[in-house]
C-alpha cells in the first residue's frame, strides 16, 4: 500500500516484537480472516474433525445407554459414590480457567501479548465448561429432575438447599459459563464486522452481519466498548478465581478425610490455571503450525505461557507438600491415615504417577531451552493435563475408598462406560473447537492490529 509521507512506519526502540515485522493492518486482517473465509477447507482440518466427531458419537452412545440403564453402568459403589464423572467435571472446569484468565486478568495487567491468544483461549474455555457442565447432570440418579436445582415457584413449596456445595456449583458454573460467553462474544463483535465486510458469499455476509449487530467501528462506540471490556475483565477476574474455589468446596465442606481441608481453594485455583495453560499450549502449538501463524503466536507467547505453567505448577507442588505435612501435623488419625493410604494404599501407583506428572517432570520448565522447544512444550502440556486429571481422581476416589468405618471400605474401578463418557467429552470438546476455528477468527484481529507499530499515533496531540 502506498505509504503516507506524513506517518512513516517506524518501530519505536524498545517496543516488544509480539508480531513478526513486516505486517500491516491489511495483512494481519487478511491473514486471519482468510482462515475462515477461504473457499476450501484444508485436509489438516478435516482429519482431526472427523476423529472428534467419531468420539462425539461414542459420547452420545454412552449417554443414551446411561439414561436407559442408570448410573449403575459406571464403576461407582458404596463407599466410592463419585468416580470418573466428578473427576472429569473438575478437570474440565479447571481447564476452562485459562481462557477467561488470559483475557481478563492479563488485560487488567496490560499484558499485550495476550492479544493474539485470548480469542481461542476463551473459546477453549467455553467448550471446556460445556463439557464440564455435562457431568453434574449426567451423574444424577434421575437426571430428568435436574431443574430441582434451581429455585422456582412450584406446587411442592420446596426449594433448593443453599447450604449444599452442589447448589453453589450450579450457580458458580452457570454464572461462569454465561459471563465467559458474554466476554467472548463482546470481544468478537468488531471481528465479526470485519468478516461481514470481507465475506464474498452473501449468506456469510448476512450471518456475520447479524452477529456483528451493525458494528461500524465508530469512535464513540470504541470508547464505550473499551470501558465495557475493562468492566467485564474486572468482573471476570474475581469470578474465575471463585469458580474453582467453589468447586473445591464440594470437597472441603464434606467431612471425608482427605477432602476436609482449608488449603483446597487456592490449590485448586492454581491447579486449574496450571491445566488451563497446558490445554492452551496443546491447542496453540499445532494450530500455529497448521495455519502458519508463527508470526502472530510467536515463541515469546509460548515462553510466557510456559512460565505461567511453571509458576502455578510450583504453587500446586507446594500444596501437595503441605497437604502431607498438615495431615501429619494435625495428629488426626483419620487424616494421617488418608494421606498414608494415598502413598501406600491400593491406589498408590496413581498417587506417585500424579506426583511425577505435576511435581517432578514440569521442573524442566526452569530451562529456557525446554520452554522454547515446541516438542518439549507439547509433551509437557500433555503431561500436566494427565497429572491434573490424576490429582482429582486421587482426591475423590482414594479418599472415599477408605474413610471412617473400615467395614465399609471398598475399591472403585472404572467400567468401559466411565471411559467412554470421558473420551466422549474430549470428542465433544474438539468437535466444537474445530467448528470454531473454521467459522470464527481464532485470533482477535482488531487487538492484533493494535500491536502493530503503525497503530501508534506518532505526532503529539497538542499543537
Amino acid at each position: 500500500m502506498a505509504e503516507d509521507p506524513r506517518n512513516p512506519v517506524t518501530v519505536p526502540p524498545g517496543r516488544p516484537t509480539l508480531i513478526a515485522p513486516g505486517h500491516t493492518f491489511g495483512s494481519v486482517t487478511d491473514k486471519i480472516s482468510s482462515i475462515v473465509l477461504t473457499r476450501r477447507t484444508p485436509l489438516f482440518w478435516f482429519v482431526p474433525f472427523l476423529i472428534a466427531s467419531g468420539l462425539l458419537m461414542v459420547f452420545l452412545a454412552a449417554v443414551a445407554y446411561l439414561l436407559v440403564r442408570g448410573v449403575g453402568i459406571w464403576g461407582i459403589k458404596v463407599p466410592v459414590m463419585w468416580g470418573w464423572a466428578i473427576t472429569n467435571f473438575v478437570w474440565w472446569i479447571g481447564i476452562g480457567h485459562a481462557g477467561t484468565l488470559i483475557s481478563a486478568i492479563l488485560l487488567l495487567l496490560r499484558q499485550s501479548w495476550r492479544n493474539s491468544i485470548n480469542r481461542f483461549a476463551e473459546a477453549m474455555t467455553l467448550f471446556a465448561v460445556a463439557c464440564a457442565g455435562m457431568f453434574p447432570l449426567l451423574h444424577l440418579g434421575r437426571p430428568w429432575l435436574f431443574y430441582w436445582f434451581f429455585p422456582y415457584p412450584n406446587s411442592m413449596n420446596i426449594q433448593p438447599q443453599f447450604r449444599s456445595p452442589l447448589i453453589w456449583d450450579v450457580f458458580a458454573v452457570s454464572t461462569y459459563a454465561t459471563v465467559s460467553a458474554l466476554f467472548w462474544f463482546v470481544g468478537l463483535i468488531p471481528d465479526l464486522a470485519t468478516l461481514r465486510d470481507r465475506a464474498r458469499n452473501r449468506w456469510a455476509r448476512a450471518t456475520y452481519g447479524i452477529l456483528a449487530m451493525g458494528w461500524r467501528g465508530a469512535a464513540s462506540h470504541w470508547q464505550k466498548y473499551e470501558t465495557a471490556s475493562l468492566l467485564l475483565a474486572g468482573l471476570a477476574t474475581p469470578l474465575v478465581l471463585s469458580v474453582h474455589t467453589v468447586v473445591s468446596f464440594d470437597f472441603t465442606i464434606a467431612i471425608v478425610p482427605g477432602w476436609h481441608s482449608t488449603i483446597f481453594p487456592p490449590y485448586f485455583v492454581a491447579g486449574a490455571i496450571y491445566s488451563g495453560f497446558a490445554m492452551v499450549l496443546v491447542l496453540a502449538i499445532p494450530l500455529r503450525a497448521m495455519y502458519g501463524l508463527e508470526d502472530l503466536i510467536t515463541m515469546r507467547h509460548l515462553d510466557n505461557m510456559a512460565k505461567v505453567m511453571l509458576a502455578t505448577g510450583e504453587i500446586v507442588a507446594y500444596s501437595y507438600v503441605f497437604e502431607a505435612f498438615i495431615a501429619w501435623y494435625s495428629g488426626n488419625p483419620f487424616e494421617m491415615f488418608a494421606m498414608w493410604n494415598r502413598m501406600t494404599g491400593p491406589y498408590a501407583p496413581t498417587y506417585w504417577l500424579l506426583i511425577f506428572c505435576n511435581l517432578v517432570f514440569p521442573q524442566l520448565l526452569w530451562w529456557k531451552k525446554i520452554r522454547t522447544n515446541i516438542v518439549w512444550l507439547f509433551v509437557m502440556s500433555l503431561d500436566v493435563l494427565l497429572g491434573m486429571w490424576l490429582e482429582r481422581y486421587v482426591i475423590i476416589v482414594v479418599s472415599l475408598s477408605r474413610d471412617y468405618v473400615p467395614s465399609a471400605w471398598g475399591y472403585y474401578w472404572p467400567t468401559i462406560w466411565d471411559v467412554a463418557t470421558y473420551v466422549g467429552t474430549i470428542g465433544l470438546f474438539f468437535f466444537l473447537f474445530f467448528l470454531f476455528i473454521r467459522s470464527m477468527p481464532m485470533i482477535s484481529i482488531f487487538e492484533v492490529r493494535t500491536l502493530l507499530p503503525q497503530a501508534e499515533v506518532t505526532e503529539g496531540v497538542e499543537k
Binding site: Y152, N154, S155, M156, I158, D197, R205, G209, I210
Partner: protein, 216 residues
C-alpha cells in the same frame, strides 16, 4: 459496498433481543399454570363411575351420614369404599329393579367387586391418614368440598403438596369443632381464626411439616 440489510432490520433485531426474554418468561409461566391447572390436578372434574352414584341425592337429599358408607374413616388411614352389601341394604328393597343399579345387583349376585374409579388419588409416596384428621377436627368438606352438592363425585381441591401445607402450617384457619366434622353444610364462622386458635389448643393440634409426616 451496498447495504446488506434493509433499514427495518434495525427494529427487528432490537425487538428480537427483548422479545426473547419475554418468550422465555412466557414458557415458564405456562409451565407453572399447567402444573396447577385442573388438567394436571383433575380438580373440579366430575368422574364417570360404573354406577352414577349421587352424593347429592344420598347425602344432601336423604341425609345419610358419611360414616354409614365410609365406615373406617374414624379408625383407619383409609375411609373405606362401602361393600356392595351396604348398597343392597336399601336397594334390595327400594329401586330394586332400577336398570341403573344393575351393576350393583350383578356384583352382589356374582360376588365380584364393583370397579369404582378413584376420585381422590394421592401419589403412592404420600401417606395420608383419614382417622387422625377427623379426630383433630378437620371436617370432611374441608378437603372433599360439599359432597351434598355433587351429583357425580369430583375432587374439590388440587391435592398438591402446597395445598396440604396450607393447612399443616395454619390449622387454625380450617379446623372446626369435632361435633361438626361430619356436617356437610358447616361453614366457617366469621370468627374462624380465633375459634380455630382455641380448638388448636384444645385438640392439641400440632403443625406437622416434617417430611416423614407424609413421606416414607
Amino acid at each position: 459496498m451496498s447495504q446488506i440489510f434493509h433499514p427495518s432490520t434495525n427494529t427487528f433485531s432490537r425487538v428480537s433481543i427483548f422479545g426473547g426474554l419475554f418468550i422465555i418468561a412466557f414458557l415458564v409461566w405456562a409451565w407453572a399454570e399447567l402444573n396447577e391447572s385442573t388438567y394436571a390436578t383433575r380438580a373440579k372434574v366430575p368422574v364417570q363411575q360404573p354406577v352414577p352414584f349421587s352424593h347429592e341425592h344420598h347425602v344432601g337429599g336423604l341425609g345419610i351420614d358419611c360414616r354409614y358408607c365410609h365406615t373406617s374413616v374414624e379408625n383407619s388411614s383409609f375411609a373405606n369404599i362401602p361393600p356392595t352389601k351396604t348398597c343392597m341394604n336399601c336397594h334390595s328393597q327400594i329401586w330394586n329393579r332400577a336398570p341403573m343399579l344393575e351393576p350393583v345387583r350383578d356384583s352382589f349376585r356374582t360376588d365380584t367387586s364393583i370397579r369404582w374409579i378413584r376420585v381422590h388419588d394421592l401419589p403412592d409416596y404420600v401417606y395420608f391418614n383419614h382417622s387422625i384428621h377427623v379426630a383433630k377436627g378437620v371436617g370432611c368438606t374441608t378437603c372433599h368440598g360439599q359432597v351434598n352438592r355433587m351429583p357425580l363425585m369430583w375432587q374439590e381441591n388440587s391435592l398438591q403438596m402446597s395445598w396440604c401445607l396450607d393447612c399443616h402450617r395454619h390449622p387454625e384457619r380450617f379446623v372446626r369443632p369435632k361435633s361438626e366434622v361430619f356436617s356437610v353444610n358447616w361453614q366457617p364462622p366469621p370468627n374462624q381464626l380465633e375459634m380455630g386458635r382455641e380448638l388448636v389448643k384444645e385438640y392439641k393440634i400440632q403443625s406437622l411439616t416434617s417430611c416423614s409426616t407424609c413421606h416414607r
